[in-house]
Protein backbone atom coordinates (compact mmCIF):
# COMPACT_ATOMS: atom_id res chain seq x y z
CA UNK A 1 0.00 0.00 0.00
CA UNK A 2 1.32 3.44 -0.83
CA UNK A 3 0.81 6.07 1.79
CA UNK A 4 -0.44 9.28 0.30
CA UNK A 5 0.70 12.59 1.66
CA UNK A 6 -1.83 15.30 2.19
CA UNK A 7 -0.80 18.68 0.79
CA UNK A 8 1.48 20.64 3.13
CA UNK A 9 -0.75 23.65 2.79
CA UNK A 10 -3.35 21.76 4.80
CA UNK A 11 -3.42 23.59 8.14
CA UNK A 12 -2.15 21.55 11.09
CA UNK A 13 -5.52 21.65 12.84
CA UNK A 14 -7.10 19.91 9.88
CA UNK A 15 -4.33 17.32 9.90
CA UNK A 16 -4.79 16.62 13.58
CA UNK A 17 -8.49 16.17 13.01
CA UNK A 18 -7.71 13.76 10.18
CA UNK A 19 -5.66 11.67 12.61
CA UNK A 20 -8.98 10.85 14.24
CA UNK A 21 -10.58 9.76 11.00
CA UNK A 22 -12.35 6.41 10.96
CA UNK A 23 -10.63 5.73 7.65
CA UNK A 24 -7.22 4.10 8.17
CA UNK A 25 -5.75 5.43 4.92
CA UNK A 26 -6.72 8.99 5.78
CA UNK A 27 -5.12 8.57 9.22
CA UNK A 28 -1.92 7.23 7.66
CA UNK A 29 -1.78 10.07 5.14
CA UNK A 30 -2.33 12.71 7.79
CA UNK A 31 0.31 11.14 9.97
CA UNK A 32 2.84 10.96 7.14
CA UNK A 33 2.25 14.62 6.41
CA UNK A 34 2.57 15.70 10.01
CA UNK A 35 5.79 13.78 10.45
CA UNK A 36 7.45 15.38 7.44
CA UNK A 37 6.04 18.87 7.76
CA UNK A 38 8.10 21.48 9.52
CA UNK A 39 4.98 23.36 10.44
CA UNK A 40 4.50 21.62 13.75
CA UNK A 41 3.41 22.94 17.06
CA UNK A 42 6.07 21.53 19.34
CA UNK A 43 7.67 18.18 19.78
CA UNK A 44 5.78 16.95 22.78
CA UNK A 45 2.38 17.54 21.23
CA UNK A 46 3.48 15.83 18.05
CA UNK A 47 4.81 12.81 19.93
CA UNK A 48 1.44 12.42 21.61
CA UNK A 49 -0.36 12.71 18.29
CA UNK A 50 1.86 10.14 16.64
CA UNK A 51 1.52 7.72 19.53
CA UNK A 52 -2.25 8.12 19.33
CA UNK A 53 -2.37 7.62 15.59
CA UNK A 54 -0.19 4.51 15.65
CA UNK A 55 -2.31 2.77 18.24
CA UNK A 56 -5.14 0.55 17.09
CA UNK A 57 -8.30 2.61 16.67
CA UNK A 58 -9.52 0.95 19.82
CA UNK A 59 -9.63 1.43 23.55
CA UNK A 60 -11.18 4.90 23.53
CA UNK A 61 -7.98 6.92 23.32
CA UNK A 62 -8.38 10.42 24.71
CA UNK A 63 -7.68 13.81 23.15
CA UNK A 64 -8.48 17.13 24.79
CA UNK A 65 -8.48 20.36 22.79
CA UNK A 66 -8.44 23.97 24.00
CA UNK A 67 -10.94 26.20 22.15
CA UNK A 68 -9.44 29.36 23.76
CA UNK A 69 -12.85 31.00 23.75
CA UNK A 70 -13.74 30.22 20.14
CA UNK A 71 -17.06 28.66 19.20
CA UNK A 72 -15.54 27.06 16.11
CA UNK A 73 -14.05 23.68 17.08
CA UNK A 74 -11.59 23.35 14.14
CA UNK A 75 -9.73 26.37 15.58
CA UNK A 76 -8.99 24.45 18.78
CA UNK A 77 -5.51 23.28 19.74
CA UNK A 78 -4.72 19.78 21.00
CA UNK A 79 -3.44 20.17 24.55
CA UNK A 80 -3.41 16.64 25.95
CA UNK A 81 -3.57 13.23 24.32
CA UNK A 82 -3.52 9.69 25.63
CA UNK A 83 0.18 9.34 26.40
CA UNK A 84 0.71 12.85 27.78
CA UNK A 85 1.05 13.58 31.47
CA UNK A 86 -0.94 16.31 33.21
CA UNK A 87 -0.80 19.77 31.63
CA UNK A 88 -1.02 23.23 33.20
CA UNK A 89 -4.72 23.68 32.42
CA UNK A 90 -6.95 22.15 35.14
CA UNK A 91 -10.00 22.06 32.82
CA UNK A 92 -8.11 19.98 30.26
CA UNK A 93 -6.92 17.64 33.01
CA UNK A 94 -10.41 17.26 34.48
CA UNK A 95 -11.87 16.37 31.07
CA UNK A 96 -9.00 13.96 30.39
CA UNK A 97 -9.20 12.27 33.80
CA UNK A 98 -12.99 12.21 33.65
CA UNK A 99 -12.91 10.44 30.29
CA UNK A 100 -10.46 7.95 31.76
CA UNK A 101 -12.73 7.16 34.72
CA UNK A 102 -15.82 6.84 32.53
CA UNK A 103 -13.99 4.64 30.01
CA UNK A 104 -12.87 2.35 32.84
CA UNK A 105 -16.38 2.35 34.31
CA UNK A 106 -17.91 1.12 31.04
CA UNK A 107 -15.14 -1.42 30.52
CA UNK A 108 -15.14 -2.86 34.05
CA UNK A 109 -18.86 -2.67 34.86
CA UNK A 110 -20.56 -3.30 31.50
CA UNK A 111 -17.67 -4.76 29.43
CA UNK A 112 -18.27 -1.97 26.92
CA UNK A 113 -15.34 -0.70 24.85
CA UNK A 114 -15.86 3.08 24.78
CA UNK A 115 -18.86 4.97 23.39
CA UNK A 116 -19.57 2.70 20.41
CA UNK A 117 -18.27 -0.55 21.98
CA UNK A 118 -15.64 -0.50 19.23
CA UNK A 119 -13.07 1.68 20.97
CA UNK A 120 -14.26 5.03 19.66
CA UNK A 121 -11.88 7.88 20.44
CA UNK A 122 -12.88 10.15 23.32
CA UNK A 123 -12.49 13.74 22.22
CA UNK A 124 -13.12 16.70 24.48
CA UNK A 125 -13.09 20.44 23.87
CA UNK A 126 -12.64 22.81 26.82
CA UNK A 127 -12.92 26.62 27.14
CA UNK A 128 -15.47 26.69 24.35
CA UNK A 129 -17.02 30.13 23.74
CA UNK A 130 -17.01 33.19 25.95
CA UNK A 131 -18.84 32.89 29.30
CA UNK A 132 -20.51 29.79 27.87
CA UNK A 133 -23.06 28.20 30.25
CA UNK A 134 -23.18 24.71 28.86
CA UNK A 135 -21.67 21.36 27.93
CA UNK A 136 -22.86 19.30 24.99
CA UNK A 137 -22.38 16.24 22.82
CA UNK A 138 -22.20 17.15 19.13
CA UNK A 139 -22.58 13.62 17.76
CA UNK A 140 -18.81 12.98 17.82
CA UNK A 141 -17.26 14.97 20.65
CA UNK A 142 -17.85 16.40 24.11
CA UNK A 143 -17.66 20.16 24.49
CA UNK A 144 -17.41 22.18 27.72
CA UNK A 145 -17.84 25.86 28.54
CA UNK A 146 -16.24 27.85 31.36
CA UNK A 147 -19.55 29.31 32.55
CA UNK A 148 -20.26 33.02 32.91
CA UNK A 149 -18.61 33.22 36.33
CA UNK A 150 -21.80 34.71 37.75
CA UNK A 151 -24.29 31.82 37.74
CA UNK A 152 -22.23 29.00 36.31
CA UNK A 153 -18.60 27.96 36.62
CA UNK A 154 -16.52 25.51 34.59
CA UNK A 155 -18.62 22.57 33.39
CA UNK A 156 -15.65 20.18 33.61
CA UNK A 157 -15.97 20.59 37.40
CA UNK A 158 -18.61 17.84 37.68
CA UNK A 159 -17.63 14.27 36.83
CA UNK A 160 -21.34 13.46 36.48
CA UNK A 161 -21.69 16.21 33.85
CA UNK A 162 -18.78 14.81 31.84
CA UNK A 163 -20.34 11.33 32.14
CA UNK A 164 -23.75 12.75 31.16
CA UNK A 165 -22.30 14.00 27.87
CA UNK A 166 -20.41 10.78 27.17
CA UNK A 167 -23.61 8.92 28.04
CA UNK A 168 -25.34 10.72 25.16
CA UNK A 169 -22.80 9.09 22.88
CA UNK A 170 -23.56 5.64 24.32
CA UNK A 171 -27.31 6.19 23.85
CA UNK A 172 -26.73 7.37 20.29
CA UNK A 173 -24.81 4.16 19.55
CA UNK A 174 -27.43 1.90 21.17
CA UNK A 175 -31.12 2.87 21.25
CA UNK A 176 -30.60 6.15 19.37
CA UNK A 177 -33.51 7.68 21.26
CA UNK A 178 -35.04 10.63 19.40
CA UNK A 179 -34.49 13.92 21.18
CA UNK A 180 -38.11 14.99 21.48
CA UNK A 181 -40.81 14.56 24.13
CA UNK A 182 -40.81 11.19 25.98
CA UNK A 183 -38.03 9.49 24.00
CA UNK A 184 -35.98 12.67 24.44
CA UNK A 185 -36.68 12.84 28.18
CA UNK A 186 -35.67 9.18 28.41
CA UNK A 187 -32.47 10.03 26.51
CA UNK A 188 -31.77 12.79 29.04
CA UNK A 189 -32.58 10.51 31.96
CA UNK A 190 -30.23 7.78 30.72
CA UNK A 191 -27.41 10.32 30.61
CA UNK A 192 -28.19 11.36 34.19
CA UNK A 193 -28.24 7.68 35.19
CA UNK A 194 -24.78 7.21 33.64
CA UNK A 195 -23.60 10.41 35.36
CA UNK A 196 -24.83 9.25 38.76
CA UNK A 197 -23.50 5.72 38.44
CA UNK A 198 -20.05 6.93 37.36
CA UNK A 199 -19.89 9.38 40.26
CA UNK A 200 -21.03 6.77 42.79
CA UNK A 201 -18.63 4.19 41.35
CA UNK A 202 -15.73 6.67 41.51
CA UNK A 203 -16.59 7.49 45.14
CA UNK A 204 -17.47 3.85 45.94
CA UNK A 205 -20.80 4.95 47.40
CA UNK A 206 -23.83 2.74 47.81
CA UNK A 207 -27.23 3.96 46.61
CA UNK A 208 -28.08 4.95 50.18
CA UNK A 209 -24.87 6.94 50.66
CA UNK A 210 -25.03 8.85 47.37
CA UNK A 211 -26.41 12.39 46.98
CA UNK A 212 -28.06 11.61 43.59
CA UNK A 213 -27.36 15.15 42.41
CA UNK A 214 -26.39 16.06 38.83
CA UNK A 215 -24.04 18.99 38.38
CA UNK A 216 -23.61 19.97 42.03
CA UNK A 217 -20.32 21.70 41.10
CA UNK A 218 -21.42 23.78 38.11
CA UNK A 219 -22.72 26.80 40.06
CA UNK A 220 -20.61 29.63 41.43
CA UNK A 221 -20.52 29.85 45.25
CA UNK A 222 -22.87 32.86 45.21
CA UNK A 223 -25.73 30.83 43.70
CA UNK A 224 -28.25 29.23 46.02
CA UNK A 225 -28.77 25.89 44.27
CA UNK A 226 -27.85 22.31 45.18
CA UNK A 227 -27.40 21.10 41.59
CA UNK A 228 -28.94 21.10 38.12
CA UNK A 229 -31.14 18.13 39.03
CA UNK A 230 -31.89 15.75 41.86
CA UNK A 231 -32.66 12.15 40.97
CA UNK A 232 -33.76 11.36 44.53
CA UNK A 233 -36.18 14.29 44.66
CA UNK A 234 -36.83 15.80 41.22
CA UNK A 235 -38.15 19.33 41.60
CA UNK A 236 -35.99 20.19 44.64
CA UNK A 237 -32.54 20.86 43.17
CA UNK A 238 -32.97 24.64 43.41
CA UNK A 239 -35.43 27.29 44.53
CA UNK A 240 -34.15 30.85 44.41
CA UNK A 241 -35.09 34.37 43.30
CA UNK A 242 -32.84 34.39 40.24
CA UNK A 243 -34.21 31.39 38.36
CA UNK A 244 -37.06 30.11 40.49
CA UNK A 245 -37.88 26.56 41.48
CA UNK A 246 -36.67 23.34 39.86
CA UNK A 247 -39.50 22.42 37.42
CA UNK A 248 -38.77 18.67 37.23
CA UNK A 249 -41.75 16.36 37.90
CA UNK A 250 -41.34 13.15 39.90
CA UNK A 251 -44.61 11.52 38.75
CA UNK A 252 -46.54 11.10 35.48
CA UNK A 253 -49.41 13.14 36.97
CA UNK A 254 -47.12 16.15 36.78
CA UNK A 255 -45.66 15.49 33.29
CA UNK A 256 -44.96 18.91 31.75
CA UNK A 257 -46.33 19.57 28.25
CA UNK A 258 -44.05 21.91 26.32
CA UNK A 259 -43.78 22.62 22.59
CA UNK A 260 -41.38 20.54 20.51
CA UNK A 261 -39.20 23.55 19.69
CA UNK A 262 -35.85 24.88 20.86
CA UNK A 263 -37.65 27.30 23.21
CA UNK A 264 -39.75 24.41 24.55
CA UNK A 265 -36.58 22.31 25.11
CA UNK A 266 -37.93 19.85 22.50
CA UNK A 267 -40.94 19.01 24.64
CA UNK A 268 -39.17 19.50 27.96
CA UNK A 269 -36.52 16.80 27.62
CA UNK A 270 -34.52 18.27 30.53
CA UNK A 271 -37.69 18.61 32.63
CA UNK A 272 -39.64 15.35 32.22
CA UNK A 273 -36.44 13.33 32.65
CA UNK A 274 -37.23 13.73 36.34
CA UNK A 275 -39.80 10.93 36.09
CA UNK A 276 -37.51 8.10 34.84
CA UNK A 277 -34.70 9.57 36.99
CA UNK A 278 -36.81 9.04 40.09
CA UNK A 279 -37.66 5.50 38.92
CA UNK A 280 -33.97 4.62 38.70
CA UNK A 281 -33.29 6.08 42.14
CA UNK A 282 -36.18 4.03 43.57
CA UNK A 283 -34.91 0.84 41.92
CA UNK A 284 -31.38 1.43 43.20
CA UNK A 285 -32.45 2.10 46.78
CA UNK A 286 -35.10 -0.63 46.60
CA UNK A 287 -32.55 -3.28 45.58
CA UNK A 288 -29.87 -1.76 47.83
CA UNK A 289 -26.10 -1.83 47.50
CA UNK A 290 -24.36 -0.28 44.51
CA UNK A 291 -26.44 1.39 41.81
CA UNK A 292 -24.08 0.21 39.06
CA UNK A 293 -24.56 -3.46 39.90
CA UNK A 294 -28.08 -4.97 39.42
CA UNK A 295 -29.90 -1.63 38.83
CA UNK A 296 -27.25 -0.47 36.35
CA UNK A 297 -27.20 -3.83 34.54
CA UNK A 298 -31.01 -3.82 34.20
CA UNK A 299 -30.98 -0.25 32.81
CA UNK A 300 -28.03 -0.89 30.48
CA UNK A 301 -29.59 -4.05 29.00
CA UNK A 302 -32.89 -2.16 28.61
CA UNK A 303 -31.10 0.70 26.83
CA UNK A 304 -29.61 -1.79 24.38
CA UNK A 305 -33.06 -3.35 23.83
CA UNK A 306 -34.73 0.03 23.18
CA UNK A 307 -35.28 1.86 19.90
CA UNK A 308 -35.35 5.47 18.72
CA UNK A 309 -39.06 5.84 19.56
CA UNK A 310 -39.18 4.08 22.93
CA UNK A 311 -41.60 5.82 25.33
CA UNK A 312 -41.64 5.80 29.16
CA UNK A 313 -44.11 2.89 29.28
CA UNK A 314 -42.06 0.82 26.81
CA UNK A 315 -38.90 1.41 28.82
CA UNK A 316 -40.61 0.55 32.10
CA UNK A 317 -41.88 -2.72 30.61
CA UNK A 318 -38.43 -3.53 29.19
CA UNK A 319 -36.71 -3.01 32.55
CA UNK A 320 -39.24 -5.35 34.14
CA UNK A 321 -38.59 -8.03 31.51
CA UNK A 322 -34.80 -7.60 31.75
CA UNK A 323 -34.90 -7.81 35.55
CA UNK A 324 -36.79 -11.11 35.19
CA UNK A 325 -34.33 -12.48 32.62
CA UNK A 326 -31.25 -11.40 34.57
CA UNK A 327 -32.32 -12.15 38.15
CA UNK A 328 -35.36 -14.41 37.86
CA UNK A 329 -39.10 -13.95 37.63
CA UNK A 330 -40.40 -12.67 40.94
CA UNK A 331 -36.87 -11.90 42.20
CA UNK A 332 -36.30 -9.03 44.61
CA UNK A 333 -34.72 -7.09 41.76
CA UNK A 334 -37.75 -7.53 39.51
CA UNK A 335 -40.09 -6.62 42.36
CA UNK A 336 -38.10 -3.44 43.04
CA UNK A 337 -38.41 -2.46 39.37
CA UNK A 338 -42.17 -3.03 39.44
CA UNK A 339 -42.65 -0.97 42.60
CA UNK A 340 -40.45 1.88 41.39
CA UNK A 341 -42.36 2.44 38.15
CA UNK A 342 -45.70 2.19 39.98
CA UNK A 343 -44.52 4.90 42.38
CA UNK A 344 -43.83 7.34 39.53
CA UNK A 345 -47.20 6.59 37.89
CA UNK A 346 -46.06 4.20 35.15
CA UNK A 347 -47.18 0.74 36.34
CA UNK A 348 -45.52 -1.95 34.23
CA UNK A 349 -47.73 -3.87 31.82
CA UNK A 350 -46.79 -7.51 31.99
CA UNK A 351 -49.07 -8.91 29.29
CA UNK A 352 -47.84 -8.48 25.72
CA UNK A 353 -49.76 -5.83 23.80
CA UNK A 354 -51.56 -6.67 20.54
CA UNK A 355 -48.89 -4.75 18.67
CA UNK A 356 -46.15 -6.61 20.55
Amino acid sequence: MTINRISCVTPPFILTRLLDSENGEIRQAALATLVTTANLRGERTVRGLIAGALAAPADGRRSVYDCKGSTFLPFATLVRSEDDGPVADPSANRAFDGFGSIRQFFRDVFQRNSIDDRGMRLQGYVHRGHRYNNAFWDGQEMVFGDGDGLVFSDFTGSLDVIAHELGHGVTEHTAGLEYHRQSGALNESLSDVVGSMVKQWALQQTADQADWLIGAEVFTPTIDADALRSMRAPGTAFDNKLFGKDPQPDHMDRFVELPDTDEGDWGGVHINSGIPNKAFYLVATGIGGNSWEAPGRIWYESLKASTSTTQFQDFADTTYQKAGQLYGTGSNQQQAVKEAWAEVGIPVTTTPSLAG
Partner: protein, 99 residues
Amino acid sequence: MRVSLATHGGLAAPIIRRLPPRVLDTDQLPGDAARELRRLVAAAAADPGAAGPAPHARDAMTYTITVDDSSDSTTLTSSDTGMSPAFGALLTWIERHLG
Protein backbone atom coordinates in the same frame (compact mmCIF):
# COMPACT_ATOMS: atom_id res chain seq x y z
CA MET B 1 -29.05 50.27 17.55
CA ARG B 2 -30.31 47.74 20.08
CA VAL B 3 -29.08 44.14 20.16
CA SER B 4 -30.79 41.46 22.23
CA LEU B 5 -29.60 37.93 22.82
CA ALA B 6 -31.99 35.10 23.71
CA THR B 7 -30.51 31.71 24.58
CA HIS B 8 -32.43 28.43 24.70
CA GLY B 9 -31.76 24.83 25.60
CA GLY B 10 -28.56 23.21 26.82
CA LEU B 11 -27.75 20.96 29.73
CA ALA B 12 -29.26 23.54 32.10
CA ALA B 13 -32.24 24.37 29.85
CA PRO B 14 -34.79 24.81 32.68
CA ILE B 15 -32.53 27.41 34.31
CA ILE B 16 -31.39 29.13 31.12
CA ARG B 17 -34.99 29.76 30.04
CA ARG B 18 -35.62 31.72 33.25
CA LEU B 19 -32.56 33.97 33.19
CA PRO B 20 -33.47 37.51 32.12
CA PRO B 21 -32.97 38.41 28.41
CA ARG B 22 -29.85 40.40 27.71
CA VAL B 23 -29.86 43.63 25.75
CA LEU B 24 -27.06 45.84 24.49
CA ASP B 25 -27.61 49.45 23.39
CA THR B 26 -24.98 50.78 21.00
CA ASP B 27 -25.70 54.36 22.19
CA GLN B 28 -23.76 53.37 25.27
CA LEU B 29 -20.79 52.11 23.26
CA PRO B 30 -17.89 54.11 21.83
CA GLY B 31 -18.17 54.84 18.08
CA ASP B 32 -15.59 52.30 16.93
CA ALA B 33 -17.27 49.53 18.96
CA ALA B 34 -20.63 50.33 17.34
CA ARG B 35 -18.99 50.21 13.89
CA GLU B 36 -17.39 46.85 14.73
CA LEU B 37 -20.77 45.51 15.85
CA ARG B 38 -22.40 46.63 12.57
CA ARG B 39 -19.66 44.86 10.64
CA LEU B 40 -20.12 41.64 12.66
CA VAL B 41 -23.92 41.75 12.26
CA ALA B 42 -23.57 42.17 8.48
CA ALA B 43 -21.13 39.24 8.27
CA ALA B 44 -23.33 36.98 10.42
CA ALA B 45 -26.46 37.94 8.46
CA ALA B 46 -24.70 36.98 5.22
CA ASP B 47 -23.71 33.56 6.62
CA PRO B 48 -25.36 32.60 9.93
CA GLY B 49 -24.93 28.83 9.51
CA ALA B 50 -27.62 26.24 10.18
CA ALA B 51 -30.57 27.47 12.24
CA GLY B 52 -31.11 24.30 14.28
CA PRO B 53 -28.77 21.88 16.01
CA ALA B 54 -27.19 18.93 14.17
CA PRO B 55 -29.41 15.81 14.19
CA HIS B 56 -27.24 13.95 16.71
CA ALA B 57 -26.41 16.93 18.92
CA ARG B 58 -27.54 16.65 22.55
CA ASP B 59 -27.72 19.51 25.08
CA ALA B 60 -26.91 22.01 22.31
CA MET B 61 -28.07 25.60 22.78
CA THR B 62 -29.78 27.78 20.22
CA TYR B 63 -29.40 31.55 19.98
CA THR B 64 -31.65 34.28 18.66
CA ILE B 65 -29.95 37.61 18.12
CA THR B 66 -32.31 40.47 17.32
CA VAL B 67 -30.87 43.71 15.97
CA ASP B 68 -33.24 46.71 16.06
CA ASP B 69 -32.12 49.73 14.10
CA SER B 70 -34.10 52.94 13.76
CA SER B 71 -35.46 51.72 10.42
CA ASP B 72 -35.62 47.93 10.55
CA SER B 73 -35.18 44.77 12.59
CA THR B 74 -33.02 41.73 11.82
CA THR B 75 -33.30 38.37 13.56
CA LEU B 76 -30.51 35.82 13.33
CA THR B 77 -30.88 32.29 14.70
CA SER B 78 -28.31 29.54 15.01
CA SER B 79 -27.13 26.80 17.34
CA ASP B 80 -24.01 25.49 19.06
CA THR B 81 -23.45 22.86 16.39
CA GLY B 82 -24.69 24.81 13.38
CA MET B 83 -23.32 28.32 13.71
CA SER B 84 -20.89 29.75 11.17
CA PRO B 85 -17.62 31.34 12.34
CA ALA B 86 -19.23 34.72 11.53
CA PHE B 87 -22.23 34.01 13.79
CA GLY B 88 -19.82 32.76 16.48
CA ALA B 89 -17.77 35.96 16.22
CA LEU B 90 -20.91 38.09 16.66
CA LEU B 91 -22.09 35.98 19.60
CA THR B 92 -18.69 36.21 21.29
CA TRP B 93 -18.57 39.97 20.74
CA ILE B 94 -22.02 40.41 22.29
CA GLU B 95 -21.12 38.17 25.25
CA ARG B 96 -17.96 40.21 25.88
CA HIS B 97 -19.77 43.54 25.72
CA LEU B 98 -22.63 42.41 27.94
CA GLY B 99 -19.90 42.40 30.60
